[in-house]
Symmetry: C2
């Protein structure tokens, strides 16, 4: 049995991917361990976590202002994706963190806004003590192969399917 930094992936179409990552941040910060959360997609929203994480001493960075991966300006999306990834790489190389969370990062790979092979190489060659958590739908198979822990969140039931709208303090 060995101890090492884990690459953890929460993927699938069900609810709970980002929330599980936030729970990891909460847990690690409860031990006084430094955590950095980098949001790749949801940055435009005012989630409850934006207020709660700093109270726990968790660093939170929002990448891709306006970056929606639905834009009709693909060059601009790619530029923002690369900018976000370069920021994440810098943090990963800083040696300052116990855990880094790349929230919704899988979309950048799935939609080919970043080149997969060099990304995976960077993830694989990171500081061996650093724990990484990556969330988002459609985790590419090579990322799953590289990961130490992968959970697929499967939607058995979803309230939006039942005519109940998203609610403050629950879904955001």
């Amino acid at each position: 049995m060995e101890t090492k930094g884990l690459l953890m992936v929460f993927t699938g179409t069900g609810k709970g991917k980002t929330t599980a990552a936030l729970g990891m941040a909460l847990r690690a910060s409860g031990h006084g361990l430094p955590v950095c959360v980098i949001q790749f997609i949801k940055g435009n929203w005012r989630y409850g976590e934006l207020d709660a994480l700093p109270k726990l001493g968790v660093e939170l960075h929002t990448m891709g202002r306006g970056f929606t991966w639905k834009s009709d300006n693909l060059d601009e999306d790619r530029r923002l994706a690369l900018e976000g990834w370069n920021f994440a790489r810098e943090r990963m190389g800083s040696g300052r963190y116990h855990m880094i969370i790349l929230d919704e990062f899988t979309y950048l790979l799935h939609y080919r806004m970043l080149d997969l092979a060099p990304c995976l190489e960077t993830l694989a060659q990171r500081d061996p003590a650093l724990h990484l958590v990556i969330t988002g739908r459609y985790a590419p198979e090579p990322l799953i192969e590289l990961a130490d822990l992968v959970t697929e969140m499967q939607a058995v039931k979803h309230p939006l399917q039942q005519g109940i709208k998203a609610q403050r303090g629950v879904e955001f």
Copy 2:
């Protein structure tokens, strides 16, 4: 589209059930909404969350001191289960919370330490504004039917399968 308190279930054998519930607590508390977490199984452990939740103003209660559902004293297990459930019911009826999390509660149902039918009736007849989050493996089918949102966490890969031991700030 209506707004109502949701019954949310995180089940399955994969990692991320309790962590997703903790993320829900973090998110709601970030909005200043009162949250109560009741741990039914893991109370003997010193998780990072035990330190982090109070910083967010989240109430945390540990039920079933010594309650392991592996005991050879089934009567004592049942007594503790009922005690925990009565506590949870009292909190659910208090009108004080936006969200209540019943962590690892499914085991009490799966292992028949509580009678399923009256439990489900209490859950169904709760304050309609109250959000409930229930976690644990083996969520019984009638609970899934009653729930508004159900995610099954499926283990695609688990580090314990790969000879890496549980680590502070990650798994506890």
